[in-house]
């Protein structure tokens, strides 16, 4: 039957193994994204001025600020979903899960628009090092967001069709950990890649 509190799990550490596993996984994800970000920072402006396909020419700060805001709000929605789960308030839990997933989808929409714009300008993953490292990094982040959206949406559906499985708040909690992590990775990407990464670089005319 449904476990009502994480404290009912019996483990040798006295802690929830699933939570520990999630935090360990997130620690390893830091390495994954850390290396992609560093690679991008090193290579982003190589040959950049040829044809204007450089960070300074292409990165769109206003639009990305908006998508950053959207992702931030989705994190807030997730927090509320987890809090509702611990109150066993299924209605609120559903509402905020759905909100989280929807905001995630809007974020992906922004990303699709951005990728499309870049491709129209002539930047693909094979054009130059900026393209390769940028698409690899933000593409993997987008894949994480997609996975999160699917996960959270499935939880939303399960609250209807299999309430037993979702009544344990730990399930929502762990999905939340993953989702917040995806959000902090974006916090770093936005600051490092978009703001620092295009600061002080000219578009087109260099010198």
């Amino acid at each position: 039957m449904a476990i009502t509190s994480e404290n009912q799990e019996h483990t040798s550490t006295g802690l929830s193994n699933r939570k520990l596993l999630m935090w360990t996984f997130l620690g390893s994800e830091c390495l994954f994204f850390g290396s992609l970000i560093a690679t991008h920072m090193v290579n982003r402006n190589e040959a950049a001025f040829v044809h204007g396909l450089s960070p300074a020419c292409l990165l769109d700060i206003p639009i990305t600020s908006m998508s950053t805001f959207v992702l931030l709000m989705s994190s807030v929605a997730m927090v509320l979903a987890v809090a509702a789960a611990y109150r066993f308030d299924v209605k609120q839990q559903r509402l905020w899960l759905l909100m989280t997933a929807s905001l995630g989808i809007i974020f992906l929409g922004f990303q699709a628009y951005e990728f499309q714009t870049f491709v129209n300008e002539g930047l693909t993953i094979g054009t130059n090092l900026f393209g390769s490292t940028f698409f690899t990094l933000t593409g993997f982040h987008g894949a994480h967001v997609t996975l999160g959206v699917v996960w959270i949406f499935i939880m939303f559906i399960l609250t209807y069709i299999k309430p037993d499985a979702t009544s344990n708040p730990l399930n929502t909690d762990i999905a939340g950990l993953y989702w917040h992590f995806v959000d902090i990775v974006w916090i770093v990407i936005f600051t490092v890649i978009y703001l620092i990464g295009s600061y002080g670089l000219d578009c087109g005319h260099v010198g």
């Binding site: 550490t13 850390g34 920072m41 402006n45 809090a83 130059n128 916090i187 770093v188 260099v206």
Partner: protein, 235 residues
């Protein structure tokens, strides 16, 4: 372990979450503001990283309630995070010396230029050419020669006898003063050189890729004339 048992959950209360959310929004707005107002100059990188660490900490500490959890979770997460930060820093140090705005010095003047169709591999951004200047390799150059190297032309064009002008992407300009007059009938050497720089894509020399950048916007008063004078004198 402090916990809020009203929510049946370890961690902060809803108003606390809202406060954190508000701080996150304000800090993000602040970052974008600083970026656009451009008031802090070189300090920008440090300020941005500081603010970003703050946001990171708030989300991990409160939204992910790590602050209220058993320390073991923190150790596991922090272990990965610190390792990731050290690796990234080591990588940036190795390859950029933290001149993150500028490309690696070691990438200047490629030993084996790759021919078209992959010219981008050997493109040398103008900044790195100015690096050469600042590194003292050719810091004695003045006038047209100085501009030629300083603007990065030297990264793509060779001129015999000019230090640093070893690029292979564009035509060798050792005799451009003579060659220029013969390129297009009815166009004299000076006009041809001027137009080659102003509108690089107007006329493409046979066997070369149309990759010469339009650099007019970067010239200071008088530099353009000085550069053209210099090139015209190469006969």
């Amino acid at each position: 372990m402090s916990s809020d048992h009203k929510n049946g959950q370890h961690g902060a209360s809803i108003p606390a979450y809202m406060l954190v959310a508000l701080i996150l929004i304000v800090v993000t707005a602040l970052e974008v503001g600083i970026f656009y107002l451009d008031v802090v100059g070189e300090l920008l990188v440090i300020i941005m990283i500081g603010l970003s660490i703050m946001k990171f900490g708030l989300v991990v500490g409160y939204f992910m309630h790590l602050k209220f959890e058993a320390p073991l979770f923190t150790y596991f997460f922090l272990g990965g995070l610190l390792l990731a930060i050290s690796i990234s820093l080591a990588f940036l140090t190795l390859f950029t010396n933290f001149d993150i705005g500028e490309p690696n010095v070691a990438q200047i003047a490629p030993a084996t230029p790759t021919p078209y169709p992959t010219p981008t591999v050997v493109m040398v951004p103008v900044e790195s050419a100015s690096n050469i200047v600042s590194e003292g390799v050719v810091d004695t150059l003045v006038g047209g020669e100085g501009i030629f190297v300083g603007k990065g032309c030297a990264g793509c064009h060779s001129i015999d006898g000019l230090d640093g002008a070893v690029g292979q992407v564009g035509p060798n300009l050792t005799n451009i003063g003579t060659v220029a007059g013969t390129r297009i009938s009815g166009v004299n050497a000076r006009e041809y050189i001027e137009n080659s720089i102003m509108n690089p894509s107007d006329f493409i020399v046979d066997g070369f890729a149309p990759v010469m950048p339009e650099l007019m916007g970067s010239f200071k008063e008088g530099e353009f004339k000085e550069l053209v004078d210099y090139l015209e004198s190469l006969e």
